[in-house]
């Protein structure tokens, strides 16, 4: 096989996967709009995806806010001789970037992996085929509740992460850098709603990326335990890369249309 064949095969594989993911997404959306929502299942998934991700998201956000305040404070102290704009930098960085992106990364590691492993195991043990023969569409029964739960919970977690990060930043800014608390909180309050939307809009897209990638990898895995392992790893890796890459393009787009 020469280099062109290898390259061609990779491109074809990629195109095929992209096509299949799009079809899965389209089917999921079709069932969301056509089918009756299965509230019991959706709530169970919201608990798993949202509530159970809360501790790890909080911890990540808290320390991110703290380290942001610390680094900004000491860097600005070197340049300006005093820690200026700590509230502004912490607030904007969290709300526009770190809140949504870090939450999405944490959720993709925790929830994306779990979804891919669960659906993958169901796939290799023929439980997906069994669902079908028992009159249930696997996309409707498995993908739809996970999709809806992620779509609701990831932005909510992002909002939490923003708040907890800002609180974490305040501990360092006020307690360690000696910034008056009114200054810090005034800077936070000076942020515009637009800037919050910028991050929130992105988090909706991240939710779609995480859950669609994980469901796709789970539904399409083969080869027993090893296949499930591969599907899980690749669900996490692919969604993390997609989150980071799409983050840039979405930010550029949102800024250009005046959101954030």
């Amino acid at each position: 096989m020469n280099i062109f064949q290898a390259l061609g095969r990779h491109i074809l594989d990629l195109a095929e996967s992209l096509g299949s993911v799009t079809i899965l997404l389209q089917k999921t959306l079709k069932w969301i709009f056509r089918g009756k929502p299965d509230f019991r299942n959706i709530f169970a998934q919201m608990l798993e995806i949202g509530v159970r991700s809360f501790p790890v998201t909080s911890l990540t956000a808290l320390f991110t806010g703290m380290v942001l305040a610390l680094q900004t404070g000491y860097s600005f102290r070197k340049v300006f001789n005093e820690p200026l704009y700590v509230g502004t930098v912490v607030g904007l960085s969290l709300v526009k970037e770190l809140g949504p992106v870090l939450t999405a990364l944490v959720v993709s590691g925790r929830v994306g992996a779990a979804i891919a492993a669960e659906l993958g195991t169901m796939n290799v043990t023929e439980q997906l085929d069994a669902l079908y023969t028992l009159g249930t569409n696997p996309v409707r029964y498995l993908a739809v509740p996970r999709f809806m739960a992620s779509f609701l919970m990831v932005p909510l977690l992002t909002l939490y992460a923003d708040i907890i990060g800002i609180i974490g930043g305040s501990f360092v800014a006020i307690g360690r850098l000696g910034i008056p608390s009114t200054v810090y909180w005034n800077e936070i309050q000076a942020m515009q709603l637009n800037e919050c939307f910028h991050g929130l809009i992105k988090s909706f897209i991240f939710a779609v990326i995480i859950v669609t990638t994980a469901c796709y990898k789970g539904f399409n895995c083969s080869g027993g335990a090893e296949g499930v392992g591969r599907a899980t790893t690749s669900a996490v890796v692919v969604s993390m890369v997609l989150i980071l890459v799409s983050d840039y393009f979405m930010s550029a787009l949102l800024v250009s249309i005046g959101i954030g």
Binding site: T125, E126, Q127, D129, A130, L131, Y132, T133, L134, G135, T136, N137
Partner: protein
């Protein structure tokens, strides 16, 4: 009646079915035998619409399903019960919930007497009502198969597909399952399609046996006829000999 006409199916470069012609008559139990990887399971998955053929037609009670839409396939699904090789029970649900899963979707009118239905179907496969509240993880391999069977017959289908019903079970449990298959045919009058390479089981449960080799049906007859067949492929398979026209791929150890 189920009829497969010139069914072809390939997975990538692997051409699994290369023109399968097969007819399953109402009330009979047909066994499809053949070596591992010859496409036995693939064949029965086509009958319920789990797989769509690349070419050819599949008729179920006069309905052509290879190009059917979801609503039409739903009609066909109701007629089939499927016993999976590993039972494929849903781990997160109890035995009773598993048994009722298909009923809820396919025959909701039966849900009025759900509890009674669970007890009755479990009894049909020889399980006590106490099993109903257990999770699949607490069951043995043979019990799982029986629950899988109870789940498959719960909504009273007219066809039951058995994918290697005795694989992985000890000889006695295998025979228990064989008896169940025979019993269901007698008690419920269902049509059975069994996929197996367990010849003892095939002789016991079937009215007719078809042999699948290289993606086609190469022989078809009563168990008696198959046992006395002069076809070298059949002879080699039923005697289980490594010598003969069927050359299995030998793994590259030597």
């Amino acid at each position: 009646m189920i009829r497969l006409q010139n069914v072809h199916k390939a997975f990538g470069k692997n051409r699994v079915l290369r023109g399968v012609d097969l007819e399953i008559r109402d009330g009979e139990t047909l066994t499809i035998m053949g070596g591992s990887g010859t496409g036995k399971s693939v064949t029965i998955k086509h009958m319920v619409g789990l797989l769509k053929p690349d070419a050819g037609q599949i008729w179920v009670d006069g309905l052509e399903i290879s190009n059917a839409n979801e609503a039409r396939l739903h009609q066909v699904q109701m007629k089939f019960g499927y016993l999976f090789q590993g039972a494929a029970l849903f781990d997160s649900l109890t035995v009773a919930e598993n048994v009722l899963f298909g009923v809820r979707n396919l025959r909701p009118e039966l849900m009025d007497r759900a509890e009674e239905l669970v007890v009755q179907k479990l009894a049909l496969v020889g399980l006590k009502p106490e099993v109903a509240d257990m999770k699949p993880a607490e069951l043995s391999g043979g019990m799982k198969k029986r629950v899988g069977l109870a789940r498959a017959i719960a909504y009273e289908p007219s066809y039951i597909l058995y994918d290697e019903p005795t694989t992985g079970l000890d000889p006695i449990m295998s025979d228990v399952i064989n008896e169940l298959i025979l019993g269901l045919q007698k008690k419920l009058g269902v049509t059975g399609i069994v996929v197996t390479h367990d010849m003892k089981s095939a002789y016991k449960v079937s009215n007719r046996i078809a042999m699948l080799y290289e993606g086609r049906i190469v022989a078809d007859g009563t168990p008696q006829e198959i046992q006395n067949s002069t076809n070298p492929l059949v002879k080699q398979f039923i005697t289980g000999s490594a010598e003969g026209p069927i050359q299995m791929a030998v793994r590259a150890y030597e």
